[in-house]
Amino acid sequence: MKITEDTIQYVAALAKLSVTEGEKKKIAKDLEDILDYMEIMNQLDTEGVEPMSHVLPVKNIFREDVVINENNREELLKNAPKQKDGSFAVPKTVE
C-alpha cells in the first residue's frame, strides 16, 4: 500500500502533530513498511467473526447516581501551564 506525503500530512493533522517537509518522506516510508506488514492480516479469513473489543464477557458495570463532590479547583489547576480566574487559559478560540 502506497503511503503518500499527503497522507502523512493528513494523519499528522488528525493527531495534531506537525511534520516538516524533510521528515515526511522518512515517515511515509516507515508507515508504509509497517502498514504493508499489517496487511498480512488479510491472509486470515475472518468472515463471520465478531470483532472483539473486550476479552472477557463482562457487562453492565454501573455506579449509582450519587454525588460526591468536593471543590478541588486548586488541585485541578495545579498542573495547568496557564490559568486565570480559576480557569484553564488558552489562546482565543474565536476571532
Binding site: K59, F62, D65, N69, R73, L76, S87, A89, P91, K92
Partner: protein
C-alpha cells in the same frame, strides 16, 4: 421563481436530570464558580477512568420508550476523537455503532394537520465544558463544570417541512421529556439545544438538496427565525444558479442572519472506535419492563383525564398540561382543596396574566399548592372577598406568602358588620346626590357607582353582597 420545499431534520441535545455526572460523582448543578464541579475524571486527568451512571441508561430508555423507539438490547459506547479546549480528553464518549434507541417517532399537530416525525436514533453521550472569552486579554478561559453532564441526543429523520412543524416537534419533545422527569429542558440553561439540518429542493424532487447545519439555537423564536432566514438564503443561492455548500453555520439572533462557522482547519474525521474503558450494556426483559412500568402519565393522557375527571374545558386542560410544572401544581392543589374548577380558574386567569406581565415561563412558578388551596378556601368561606383575593394571590405568586397570615397581618378580612357598612353607605349617598337623582330617574347604573364608592371607602374589604343589599335598601327608601 420555482416552487421550493424546505426539508428539516433536528439533532436535539437534552441534558438529563441526574444528580451526578455520567462517568463520575460530580454534581450536575447548573452554574457554580468555574471548575468547582469537577474532579480528575471529568477533567481528563491522566490515568483516570469512567464508570457509567446507571440512571443515565434508565433515563435514556425511558425517553426511548416514550418516543416509541425500539431499545437496543445490547449497546455500547464509542469514542469520538477531536481536539477542542472544552473537551479535556480530546475525545467525547458517545455512541455511534449501537445507539441505545432506534426507529421511533412522535405525532405532531400544526395548522396543516397531524403528522408523524420519525426519530432515527437516541444516543447517550457526555457534555463538553464551557469556553469564556476574556474580553480584556487575548485568551479564552475553560470551565469544565458542564463537562461530563449526561446528554441524550435525539436525532430525527428529515421529516419536517416548516418552522411551525419544527416548533411543534420541539414543544412536544420538551413536554414528553419533562413529564418523564428525565430533563428540565430549560433552553436558557442549555439543557435543551437543537441543531437544525436544513435543505431545500424543488417541489416534487426526490433527491434531497445539500444541507447546512445550524447551531447555537437557544429559543423557539430564534429557531423559527433561523429556519426562515436559512430557507431564504438557500433558495436565493439556487435561484442565482449557485450551490449550497455543506457546512456548519452559526445563527446570530441579534443580527437576524447566519454565518458560516470558520471551517475547521482539518477535515472532520472523528475516528470513532469502541470505548475500551467501558463495558457493553445488556438490557434484559426484566429491566426494560421495570422501566416501562415506572413510566408516568404523559401529557396527552393527562389532558383527556382532566377533561373527564375534573370536568374542565379541553382548552383549559391543554393550557394546564402544557407545562409539567403547572399540571403538577394543579393536581397538588386540587388534592388539597378538592375544587378543580376554582384551581383551574386561578391558573388560567390570574396566573397566566401575571406570567405574561412578569415575562416568566410556567416552569418558573414558585408558589406552593398549599397557599393557593388556602386562598381558595378563604374565598369559599367568605373570609375575604374576590377583590382582596386577587391582591393576595399576587403576593402568593410573587413571594409565596401564606394567605392566612398575610390577611391577618394586613387586616384584609372581609367586613360584614351591618352597622359599619350602613353608616359608610349613608355617608356615600350623602356625598353623591347626583347619583341618587340619576337612580331615581331610572339610571340603574348609578347604583353600581355608589357600590364602588363604598368598596373604595372600605378599602375593598367589604362583603360585596351586603353592600349591594344595603345600598339598594337605602336608595329605595
Amino acid at each position: 421563481m420555482k416552487a421550493y420545499e424546505t426539508v428539516i431534520g433536528l439533532e436535539v441535545h437534552v441534558e438529563l436530570a441526574t444528580k451526578s455526572k455520567i462517568f463520575c460523582s460530580c454534581t450536575t448543578l447548573f452554574g457554580g464558580d468555574p471548575n468547582t464541579h469537577c474532579c480528575p475524571v471529568c477533567t481528563g486527568m491522566p490515568g483516570t477512568l469512567p464508570v457509567l451512571n446507571k440512571q443515565v441508561v434508565e433515563y435514556a430508555i425511558a425517553a426511548g420508550l416514550a418516543l416509541n423507539c425500539s431499545i437496543t438490547r445490547r449497546c455500547k459506547f464509542d469514542r469520538k476523537n477531536y481536539f477542542y479546549p472544552d473537551l479535556p480528553k480530546a475525545y467525547q464518549i458517545s455512541q455511534l455503532y449501537l445507539p441505545i434507541c432506534r426507529d421511533g417517532g412522535i405525532e405532531i399537530e400544526t395548522s396543516a394537520g397531524k403528522k408523524t416525525v420519525r426519530i432515527h436514533e437516541i444516543h447517550m453521550e457526555e457534555d463538553a465544558g464551557k469556553l469564556i472569552h476574556d474580553p480584556w486579554e487575548d485568551c479564552t478561559l475553560v470551565d469544565y463544570n458542564r463537562c461530563g453532564v449526561p446528554l441524550i441526543e435525539i436525532v430525527s429523520e428529515p421529516d419536517m417541512r416548516s418552522a411551525e412543524e419544527v416548533v411543534a416537534y420541539l414543544e412536544k419533545l420538551r413536554l414528553i421529556l419533562q413529564y418523564l422527569g428525565v430533563s428540565d429542558c430549560k433552553m436558557q440553561e442549555g439543557s435543551l439545544r437543537a441543531d437544525i439540518n436544513l435543505s431545500v429542493r424543488e417541489v416534487g424532487a426526490i433527491e434531497l438538496g445539500t444541507r447546512t447545519e445550524m447551531k447555537n439555537m437557544n429559543s423557539f423564536k430564534a429557531i423559527a427565525r433561523a429556519i426562515e432566514g436559512e430557507r431564504k438564503r438557500q433558495i436565493e443561492l439556487l435561484e442565482y444558479g449557485k450551490c449550497v455548500v455543506q457546512e456548519t453555520r452559526r445563527w446570530d439572533d441579534n443580527k437576524d442572519t447566519s454565518f458560516a462557522m470558520r471551517s475547521k482547519e482539518d477535515a472532520q474525521d472523528y475516528r470513532y472506535f469502541p470505548e475500551p474503558d467501558l463495558l457493553p450494556i445488556e438490557i434484559s426483559d426484566e429491566w426494560l419492563e421495570t422501566i416501562r412500568s415506572r413510566q408516568p402519565e404523559l401529557r396527552d393522557d393527562k389532558m383527556l383525564r382532566y377533561e373527564k375527571e375534573f370536568d374542565i374545558p379541553s382548552y383549559d386542560a391543554s393550557i394546564i398540561t402544557g407545562s409539567k410544572h403547572l399540571a403538577d401544581l394543579f393536581e397538588e392543589t386540587v388534592a388539597i382543596c378538592k375544587k378543580p374548577k376554582e384551581v383551574s380558574n386561578w391558573l388560567m386567569v390570574e396566573t397566566m396574566r401575571l406570567l405574561k406581565e412578569q415575562e416568566m415561563e410556567a416552569e418558573d412558578i414558585n408558589f406552593s399548592p398549599d397557599h393557593l388551596a388556602k386562598l381558595i378556601e378563604m374565598v369559599d368561606q367568605n373570609k375575604i372577598n374576590r377583590t382582596v383575593a386577587k391582591e393576595v394571590f399576587e403576593k402568593i405568586f410573587k413571594e409565596n406568602i401564606d394567605p392566612e397570615e398575610y390577611v391577618d397581618k394586613h387586616g384584609l378580612g372581609m367586613v360584614s358588620d351591618d352597622g359599619l357598612l350602613r353608616s359608610t353607605i349613608e355617608k356615600v349617598i350623602a356625598d353623591n346626590p347626583q347619583s341618587v337623582t340619576d337612580y331615581k330617574g331610572g339610571k340603574s347604573k348609578a347604583m353600581g357607582f355608589l357600590v364602588g364608592q363604598t368598596m373604595k371607602e372600605m378599602k375593598g374589604k367589604a362583603d360585596p353582597g351586603m353592600v349591594n343589599q344595603i345600598v339598594k335598601e337605602l336608595l329605595d327608601k
